[in-house]
Symmetry: C2
Subunit: 83 residues, 2 copies
DNA sequence: TTAGAAAATACGCGATTGCGTATAAATTTA
DNA sequence: TAAATTTATACGCAATCGCGTATTTTCTAA
């Protein structure tokens, strides 16, 4: 299970998917992160002005990590993601 | 070449390493990203309030992508990173 | 060792964050 | 389909963003 992220929107969508897979509400996640449910909502919406700190805190709370690597060729799912 | 990121500081350090490996100055990268050199400086310093948008723009400019995945066990390099 | 380049920092600015507190809207479940 | 839960949105606030413009401070070659 590995999600490729190229936009803030994709990052938010990934967080949402994973949060749900762990049966957590935005409120639950917010509690773990010590931020409000509204802040989680904005993060998941892919608001590009969200602070980096919020993303990192979410990753910790969901027991995830980030990897930075060279861009791989565009996959079909990436294209679908555009629409 | 794959960098594991768990903190904003690590994200900044990774961007800096990769930028240098591509022989770019902060000014060069800023130009590609349409942000100021000062903004790149803050990103690389790992300022946690940096906007997510800035990180994503840097990734695009450096031809990188992000991966979100479950946390792997702590590696030696992670520990070294603490000190 | 010093000139030149690169990076860090500063000031004032408008914009927007995340905050507390609430509520409206949407979704799920009984 | 009604009730309950979850998510999105709102207001006023202090804080901080990234901006333009510039100036240190630090690093790197000649």
């Amino acid at each position: 299970m590995e999600l490729t992220i190229r936009t803030a929107k994709q990052a938010g969508a990934a967080i949402r998917r994973i949060r749900r897979s762990q049966s957590l509400t935005q409120g639950d996640l917010g509690e773990k992160m010590h931020v409000r449910q509204a802040t989680v909502s904005k993060l998941e919406a892919g608001e590009p002005a969200t602070q980096l700190r919020i993303l990192m805190d979410a990753l910790v709370a969901l027991d995830l990590e980030l990897v930075i690597r060279p861009r791989t060729s565009t996959s079909v799912s990436d294209i679908e993601d555009i629409f």
